[in-house]
Symmetry: C2
Subunit: 160 residues, 2 copies
């Protein structure tokens, strides 16, 4: 891998690390106490399996980004990071899609299924979830950019 | 692209076409009438945004698989299908993750959010959704195999 391409890849991976760490922390700290009629309850991310999956995937992807940054520019392992990058792009995509689907139910409810929206009762919790989804989406876009730059290098082998 | 690799790719794409068409049809035909107390209602896929997204993505991916099969073995466009394959793998992954997250709520409900499970009232509807998710998962695995075989060719250029 050329020095310039290595620096470009490193910058993208630092950005990806920032996005995944932010997404994991913002989702992991999303909790709010509220009371409805005479009932008091606390909404937290671990109540919803899709949000737990989101936090786990973002945390593991953060660790991966962190470790890959220590790979030397001349390592032959760089050629194989395209496969691990692909797997993590798919995991991140699935985590954000699953969390977004449930967040949509939380925000708008579903009258057909009889599921009521909950964001009216816990608005700060929902804001946290929205922020985490934004950071998660940024992480997917950065991982896609890393993958596309690797594919571009393969299509133009002189650039590797 | 060598003749053998073209035939292998064609077989994978025929399998992917079968999986995406099955997923779209099985999800698109998921509807069931039921009555609860004195209320009568019909559950259908279009009631849930994630299921609509699933059907649209599977249908567009089917069309893509069908069109790519007509690409001649010697076309230079084959090198670029890796990018479109990547985009469709991500779209299929997101569609199945979103549908699975909502289907999980439909099956088990969520006591924290006050969402009741609905599969007890409409079991055949839920069976259809499960079948569609199975076919959608198979489509993702086949698309991943197509992508990995393309990456393997790039890593071993003599095989292209």
């Amino acid at each position: 891998m050329s020095k310039m391409k290595w620096v470009f890849s490193l910058v993208l991976r630092i950005l990806a690390l920032g996005a995944t760490v932010s997404a994991a922390i913002v989702m992991g700290t999303s909790r709010e106490k509220a009371s409805f009629l005479s009932l008091s309850f606390e909404a937290k991310f671990s109540d919803i399996p899709s949000f737990k999956y989101f936090v786990i995937v973002e945390a593991v992807a953060s660790l991966y980004c962190f470790l890959v940054m220590f790979l030397p520019a001349r390592s032959s392992l760089w050629r194989f990071t395209i496969i691990s990058d692909l797997i993590f792009t798919m995991l991140l995509t699935s985590s954000i899609a699953a969390a977004l689907a449930v967040a949509q139910v939380g925000k708008y409810g579903n009258s057909h299924a009889g599921w009521l929206p909950i964001c009216g009762q816990v608005p700060r919790y929902c804001d946290h979830v929205s922020g985490a989804l934004g950071a998660g989406f940024a992480a997917v876009v950065i991982f896609l950019a890393i993958l596309l730059s690797a594919i571009y290098s393969f299509l133009n082998p002189r650039l590797i």
